[in-house]
């Protein structure tokens, strides 16, 4: 048994001695990007934004996917520090969990910019959509639409995101606060149990059961909103459905007339601008410390979504839906 222990420790130390310390520094500037996941269009666009910016500015680009795992996220960030990248952009799956890793980066002289979601620890800057305002926009839209109708029950429902997405929760909060302000009752507030389109479908059925005369609903996640819109259509009811994100599925749904509006974020822009800010820090020595840069969200309706989609496509180079 003792022999095994000794052997194993030796085996482990060999690579450390042979290879350690060769985190070579490349010529030019390297940006390390740690991304929550690539499973959704939002993040795919964000990633393209970061990649395009790096290409434009002539930076080396390294991307690591967190696979929605906070522990992996921390590991990856540490690896980027070990690699001695010049700047780290991170879209954290759990913004509250990057603190120590960011500290390590800053100690090594590497600036850190958070691209959406949230931040903790000594980051240089955070670019984030104004989620709270987005929720408010959704409620204002419902109110405006209801004013065109003959009767208004003034009851709304909201399909909220799961509790752990603390920053996205702001959307629902903004919606509910605005509703109260405009004299509406939030008659049903349900957390969508399954964070996917079919989850929105189920939750919408529950909202319709709980409040048979609900006049409008807001689903804080685009995919779920599309599911909800389908549920409304299947039930043959007349309810205003608003989503959030501006995902391709939502745009299709708006085109089909089942989704009435969505609050679009600008993930590509967030990604691109994060690198631009990094550029300012690295090349122009600009000071950023714990700065929060709000990014505008835009309400998309059947009137303007096509224009928005065309513009997005032109900027990004990939179709919006």
């Amino acid at each position: 048994m003792k022999k095994i222990i000794v052997l194993c420790i030796v085996l482990m130390l060999i690579p450390l001695f042979l290879f350690a310390g060769t985190g070579e520094k490349k010529e030019g500037i390297t940006i390390g990007f740690s991304l929550w996941t690539m499973e959704f269009t939002f993040f795919q666009n964000l990633e393209k934004g970061v990649r395009d910016a790096c290409e434009k500015f002539g930076y080396e680009y390294v991307m690591i996917d967190q696979n929605s795992d906070p522990q992996k996220m921390a590991q990856d960030l540490n690896s980027l520090v070990g690699q001695k990248v010049d700047g780290i952009v991170v879209t954290p799956v759990d913004p509250g969990a990057i603190g120590p890793a960011v500290q390590n980066a800053r100690n090594a002289g590497i600036p850190v910019v958070c691209a959406d979601i949230g931040k903790s620890g000594p980051v240089n800057a955070l670019l984030i959509s104004n989620n709270y305002e987005g929720g408010q926009l959704a409620m204002e839209f419902i109110d405006k639409q209801m004013k065109k109708k003959s009767s208004n029950t003034k009851k709304v429902g909201v399909g909220r995101v799961q509790p752990q997405w603390t920053y996205a929760r702001q959307r629902g909060q903004g919606f509910m606060d605005k509703a109260k302000e405009l004299g509406y009752t939030v008659a049903s507030e349900i957390v969508v149990a399954v964070p996917s389109a079919e989850g929105g479908y189920d939750t919408m059925q529950q909202i319709m059961s709980a409040v048979p005369d609900v006049c409008g609903v807001f689903f804080a996640s685009g995919r779920e909103a599309v599911g909800a819109a389908n549920a409304v259509k299947a039930a043959g009811k007349d309810i205003i459905v608003v989503g959030y994100n501006g995902d391709p599925e939502e745009l299709h749904a708006i085109e089909d007339g089942i989704l009435h509006a969505t609050v679009a974020q600008q993930p590509w822009f967030i990604g691109y601008d994060s690198v631009r800010i990094m550029k300012e820090i690295l090349e122009q020595g600009k000071e950023y410390e714990d700065a929060v840069v709000p990014v505008k969200v835009e309400l998309l309706t059947p009137d303007n979504y096509k224009k928005w989609a065309d513009e997005a496509e032109k900027r990004r180079g990939t179709p919006a839906y």
Binding site: I5, M12, I64, N67, D76, S79, D94, G99, S120, G121
Partner: protein, 325 residues
């Protein structure tokens, strides 16, 4: 090391594999990733990964005992989240040392509760811990009102991030835990009881072993190591997010134990195997990403490696004529 005299060549190889297979696999993995990815082989990265291995590694100790004892505990992820959230929330009031102690004692207690439900209420372990998984997780949400607890206490943070003479404390802690576990398993009567009960409950009972007491102690042990792991990981992450912490932890830990060579059916197991399996899983997660492997293919790769490695283990079982699970 058990004697291999008198065994055929295949059995000999299998025996060697039992002891060296996983360390070898780990070494091979290390070499492959180091060659293909410069960031992986930086000392900083290697040590950081070692540090993070303690998350699955320490938890795997308790789970190994549990599986050797013939049971399962799938509530460990939720347990981790609850105790970390609760314990760290007390930091401002009672200070670092007390909070850490509370966390570990509380999670040991939760393990004890699991054990009591399994033995006295006679609900099968899998089902009990399935129910407790829901219960612990929801309690974590309710207690923190679903807000993450940020950790700033230096003592707590040190346990996960600090170093002693250049060696990260988390690594020292993991090694200490494994040595203690090894002594408990191989050099104490308790260890023998655990394995006996896992091998054949009736026989163990007839031999005079207090099965219930053994089981409860095993579950308490699971809780103990989960508590230690929870302190380390929440220190590494700087926070305890009730919703996110420990999601999927039970699967990772069980995977490490099985990959390490412990049979799911109970009975003798491989503690050091679990150690290396935890290392392999942690380094693999990191390495695949650093090699810039396409995200979706990473899913496929991890699954394939798992099946491959466990299949190799099964081969060893067959060659040695040991029990299947």
């Amino acid at each position: 090391m058990e004697r291999t005299r008198g065994m055929g060549i295949r059995a000999r190889i299998a025996r060697r594999w039992e002891n060296f297979g996983l360390p070898l696999l780990f070494f091979v993995l290390l070499v492959i990733f180091s060659t293909l990815s410069p960031p992986f082989r930086s000392a900083y990265s290697l040590i950081s990964n070692f540090r993070f291995s303690s998350f699955i590694g320490i938890g795997a100790i308790g789970m190994a005992f549990c599986i050797m004892n013939g049971d399962f505990d799938i509530s460990v992820g939720s347990m981790l989240s609850l105790v970390a959230a609760m314990g760290s929330s007390f930091l401002p009031k009672i200070g670092g040392v007390s909070a850490v102690l509370f966390t570990i004692l509380f999670s040991t207690f939760l393990g004890f509760v699991n054990g009591v439900f399994v033995t006295k209420l006679r609900i099968p372990a899998f089902i009990t811990t399935l129910g407790m998984m829901f219960i612990y997780r929801s309690l974590a949400y309710i207690y923190t009102n679903n807000t993450p607890v940020y950790i700033e206490n230096p003592f707590w943070l040190f346990l996960g991030n600090g170093s002693v003479l250049g060696v990260p404390f988390a690594i020292i802690l993991m090694l200490i835990c494994y040595v203690v576990a090894f002594l408990l398993l191989r050099r104490s009567p308790f260890g023998r009881y655990v394995i006996a009960v896992g091998t054949n409950r009736e026989t163990a009972m007839l031999s005079g072993i207090n099965v219930d007491r053994t089981k409860i102690t095993v579950f308490a042990l699971v809780g103990l190591f989960v508590g230690i792991a929870s302190v380390v990981i929440s220190a590494n992450l700087g926070s305890a997010n009730p919703g996110m912490l420990g999601q999927g932890y039970e699967f990772q830990v069980i995977t490490a134990v099985v990959l390490g060579g412990t049979a799911l059916g109970g009975g003798d197991g491989n503690l050091w195997g679990a150690f290396f399996a935890a290392m392999i899983l942690t380094y693999l997660k990191n390495g695949l990403g650093l090699m810039q492997v396409d995200s979706y293919w990473q899913f496929v790769a991890v699954g394939l490696v798992l099946i491959f490695a466990v299949a190799l283990n099964r081969l060893k079982f067959t060659l040695l004529g040991q029990r299947q699970a």
